[in-house]
Symmetry: C2
């Protein structure tokens, strides 16, 4: 397009999209023609207040723009009417459907449009997600019935939507037909339609009389232990409420395989597990809806993620095939289907989207985490791990992405550990051991006081010291290794009993007393047994071997970045994860917990169907590695039993943390060398 003298240059931020528009163009139209997403429910009538923008004033020499509010038409009567009816706009805010381009502009599209003095409770997860939801609200005003043009009421609604909202051949959900006429008359021919389009054409799925300015979606992560549910406005993108609850399927089996067994052993097992999880989700939905003060009818979309077995059970699919080789998923692709039949308290026309599963043990949750973290968008080789009873591993960069799962077992969740427990107040989550005295100090969940601080007595009375949670186990094993209490093979050094009463015999092996019983305060002794160390070695070796297999496939010896997803991953201190060799070597400042990445990915798919297409295409492209079929898995596994590893070097870790020397050499050239001490007869195992 050649610039016309009457054209103005408009730059939209944060997208950076720009274009020239004739003077007099509404800012909303300019944005749309550039593909800049600005929400609008009322279709430019200045009544929904969703399309707010703000002009950035000043000189922008880089863009060749001098932007000023004077380059926007004056505050219109429609805007004044909006303010009267709905309340003041924030300072400098304008309705982009009313404000006309008069000259060059830099336009900020705010991410926090607030209308209706709506109650908002902010949550931790505040990542702004670019929006292009599969379901949109479209307000239309239609003609009354006309005997001369006897088009049905629903047909005139569809025609109005096609015309005003440029929808291509919209349809209407058959189940809405019985209420169309009542709604149209109740709204006096002004209605708001929720229109869903996820690649098979637009379809009206819900209808309200008049302007309806609320539409919400759910992002639900169905974990085998915990279900997390986030209620999000699909108009503003904002999280309105979040809630979590234990997965009640636990009563049918603690871990995934025991639930599959339950299904295999009980004729109605699958039905029971499906019903249970759907009911729990229904309760969570009602809870977040109540907290955000919205109606069930306002929920028009829901995205669900979960590991393959959770995914199948939620969908009502028998997961038996996932219980044994070849671990065949019933469906791996993404699904988009009506929410009816699931018994959830949502709009009867609501749609459900499930992200694709990557493989038989790498689920839609891993796909969602990948979507959220975007390793495929970086040159850096990223390792993304969700540690659970089955660790889900994704490794790669923009060139190549691989995925696998490793059967770590439940050790990291506190099971199989003599003093282990689930993460709960009173559980030890942080541990430091003085290498000179071998005396530990600990912190428990629920309080930030170390056990060597005077105030800790109060903590013990309030919370107790009840056991060791997953992240605490990682730390205590790591610290025991760093303090020389266990050697690289994981053997507890009984000779140290001479130096410390913390080292005590336990049957034919040795143990370390992490917490001494305090009968006065009602705490029992918490010990790390040789079998506990072994359980952690097995679990971490399995995970590491899986990661290493993927590294072999790419042909790398080191990764650029490590992201630990999930609740557990978020609480592990990356340093100790590396010290015990749970993950490969990496610069410590490049290792981080990324929280509920699966939940974030679900929210992205909820708010933008582009992300759905992105993850669907990406999952097809991901190379799936089945660890059980790889001959080198066993070899890596054996090497990974050692701390941090028998074969692979950890130069980044060694540079940051003084590691004990290896038995096999005289030192590793680091400070760790100075901690080397004489070999002492090993306890018979």
């Amino acid at each position: 397009m050649t610039a016309h003298p009457k054209d103005a240059l408009v730059l939209f931020m944060p997208s950076g999209r720009r274009g020239r528009f004739p003077v007099g163009t509404p800012v909303l139209d300019a944005a749309r023609s550039l593909g800049v997403y600005i929400e609008s429910v009322c279709g430019g009538r200045g009544i929904c207040g969703r399309c707010q923008i703000q002009v950035a004033e000043g000189q922008f020499p880089k863009h060749g723009i001098t932007s000023s509010n004077d380059h926007l038409s004056a505050f219109s009567d429609t805007e004044a009417r909006y303010v009267t009816k709905r309340g003041a706009l924030q300072p400098e805010r304008r309705l982009s459907c009313q404000a006309l381009v008069l000259g060059d502009l830099v336009v900020d599209v705010p991410q926090d449009v607030q209308i209706n003095r709506q109650l908002v409770r902010k949550r931790a997860e505040t990542r702004a997600i670019e929006r292009d939801p599969a379901t949109r609200l479209c307000y239309v005003e239609l003609d009354e019935p006309d005997m001369h043009k006897p088009l049905g009421d629903a047909d005139r609604l569809l025609a109005a939507l096609a015309g005003e909202w440029r929808l291509d051949a919209p349809r209407i959900d058959f189940r809405l037909l019985p209420k169309v006429q009542k709604v149209l008359r109740a709204g006096e021919w002004k209605v708001t339609a929720a229109v869903h389009d996820d690649g098979r054409g637009p379809q009206v799925v819900a209808l309200w009389p008049g302007l309806h300015n609320v539409a919400c979606g759910l992002a639900v992560d169905i974990g085998s232990t915990t279900i997390a549910c986030h209620l999000t406005s699909i108009l503003s993108g904002r999280v309105l409420a979040s809630a979590g609850a234990p997965n009640p399927q636990i009563r049918f089996g603690e871990d995934l395989m025991s639930r599959v067994s339950y299904v295999m052993m009980n004729p109605d097992g699958r039905e029971a597990l499906t019903k249970t999880v759907r009911e729990a989700i229904a309760v969570l939905i009602a809870k977040v809806a109540a907290e955000a003060d919205i109606e069930a009818d306002d929920i028009v979309e829901a995205v669900f993620v979960g590991n393959p077995i959770m995914h199948h059970l939620f969908l009502g699919i028998d997961p038996t095939e996932l219980g044994g080789a070849p671990f065949a998923l019933a469906i791996s692709g993404a699904l988009d289907f009506p929410a009816t039949e699931l018994g959830l308290p949502v709009n009867p026309g609501a749609r459900i989207y499930t992200l694709p599963c990557i493989a038989g043990h790498v689920g839609a949750d891993a796909a969602a985490a990948t979507l959220a973290e975007g390793p495929q968008k970086s040159d850096e080789i990223t390792l993304l791990v969700d540690v659970g009873t089955n660790a889900e591993i994704v490794l790669g960069n923009r060139d190549r992405l691989l995925a696998a799962s490793s059967p770590t077992g439940p050790a990291f969740e506190g099971a199989e550990i003599s003093s282990g427990q689930r993460a709960a107040p009173g559980a030890i989550e942080r541990v430091r051991i003085d290498p000179a005295t071998l005396e530990p100090k600990v912190k428990v969940i629920g309080d930030d006081t170390w056990s060597d601080e005077p105030d800790f007595a109060r903590v013990v009375e309030d919370l107790g010291v009840t056991g060791i949670c997953g992240s605490g186990i990682i730390e205590v094993i790591g610290e025991m290794y760093l303090a020389g209490i266990i050697d690289e093979d994981g053997v507890i050094d009984g000779a140290l009993a001479a130096r410390s009463d913390r080292i005590v015999q336990h049957g034919r092996t040795w143990s370390y007393v992490l917490w001494k019983a305090d009968p006065a305060r009602g705490t029992r002794e918490l010990r790390i047994l040789q079998t506990d160390v072994r359980a952690i070695q097995l679990a971490k070796a399995a995970l590491y071997a899986g990661v290493r297999l993927l590294m072999d496939k790419i042909g790398i010896e080191t990764v650029d970045r490590i992201k630990l997803a999930g609740a557990f991953g978020n609480y592990i201190d990356p340093k100790y994860a590396m010290v015990i060799g749970l993950v490969p070597d990496c610069a410590l400042d490049k290792v981080s917990g990324v929280g509920n990445a699966a939940g974030t990915g679900a929210r992205m798919a909820l708010l933008n169907r582009g992300y759905r297409r992105e993850i669907e295409a990406l999952v097809r492209r991901i190379e799936k590695i089945e660890t059980a079929l790889e001959p080198r898995f066993q070899e890596h596994f054996v090497a990974a039993m050692a701390f941090p590893n028998k074969v692979h070097a950890f130069p980044n870790l060694a540079a940051a943390v003084p590691l004990p020397a290896r038995k096999s050499d005289g030192g590793d050239g680091t400070e760790g060398g100075r901690r080397r001490r004489g070999r002492i007869r090993r306890t018979v195992e």
Copy 2:
């Protein structure tokens, strides 16, 4: 494409499509590349037997082809195996997936492919309908699960369908997912999928292990009086069974408006009417399925038509708005939706299609009749009328098509007529009156004997003479007019009582005794009263006025062809329809009953989605005339009260039938003139 020396010319009949193909091309592939529809379920494996063809041998100079069975490859081992397993092919028949083109061919695509020694009961309606059904059976063989490529079972199924059947991004109905794995394993990775695609992309809606060679559809016409159901194979196009039943909604109200009133007056009225009609349809479906010896699961498609009120009630839509101006339909467009929720005994994945309604009183049944009769494909101006309590009228040709309805009332159905009754055995359906003696002879439904034949006594004993049905009423009024018993204004001539004891006083008016009571045989007297003549005059005038309005719009004085649809239309003698002026003048040999045209249209939409698009586009194009809004309706109505009409001439009729002279002139220049007789004092009305 330039002809290659190794190319052969292949002509397919009856489509007439032709093309050149390399020697060695399977005939099925040649057909497909020309868009010639040949069914195939197994995808060319020679096991389903659906793709049979036959070579027409001989010289076809017009096409430049010498066709011979020698130009086809020899009977293959696969065909021999088919014959062994499934039974002999008819003589000369070949499987087109196995027979290869070796030279020039004229190929007949038979319309009666018979396989599996399948039971077929032929029905009257045998119109061959070109096929391109929205749901097809697709047999595929897929790979077993592979841990190296952990694509879900359903995903591999979709991939196989996409590859073998060239489906573009097929999806699978979410509700099938729980059974996918079981069916795939039961079929040992060979399965038959029913794939539905009606414009929004292919979707698997049903699944069977192995080769499944049966797929049926229903064409259902929901009349306010009668429901008709045709079970059709969507593989062969053949009607397998038909059944009809009274619409049990009658107990809520005889006519349409009384059913609408029932809904308005009763809080659960709509639910009751919907439930009743769906249950009746379910019974009919079970009946035709049993008759054709197929499973409910084999029914994968259903097409429904009906007038707007039947259509709405079936869909669960409150028809109250149709009870008064502006007669707003909830939906006028065509619908395609899953059969679930309707409680019909069909495959859970079956799809329902409803044809569009034309206007508030011109329903999907009229659209279906239009589709079946195709007035829009002809240069001739065709009048298509479905006579009922609301006559649905379509008029026009390829240039222009108009539709309207006329409120004829229930007179034609025998109601409002003193001796009227529904069409049933014993009802008078044919009448002749001797103009000299005024003696009538009649025939009753159920026997072909005239009442002046000796054998009629037996008929009276067997069936009785119970009343006069709709077509009988038309004839008796027509004959009374032709015999001079009533004049052009419909007045019964009391002076004739002097000549015949059939003319008797009835209150202050006269009447005609059509059947004399015969107490010995238990029959009562059947009279035509002056009020009966008036009722027919009102009804026929309404219909005629509607037709005439449409003729005015086009600007014509005569129509080229008249088609009378529906059960009633089929039984009316066109001559009498014209004599009483129910329809405008037309050459008598161009007036015909077309039977259940709505049912045929439904069957066309069932077997070919092209017809769906055709009728959807056509209905948008039809000009809808609301008679109530047309000032000239009243004028036409008044003129049409006379026999055949006060204003409009009936030259074609007059040329064929000796009509009585008009009062207003001295004769109409026809033979009718000779019947003119002196005016006699009219009975006071």
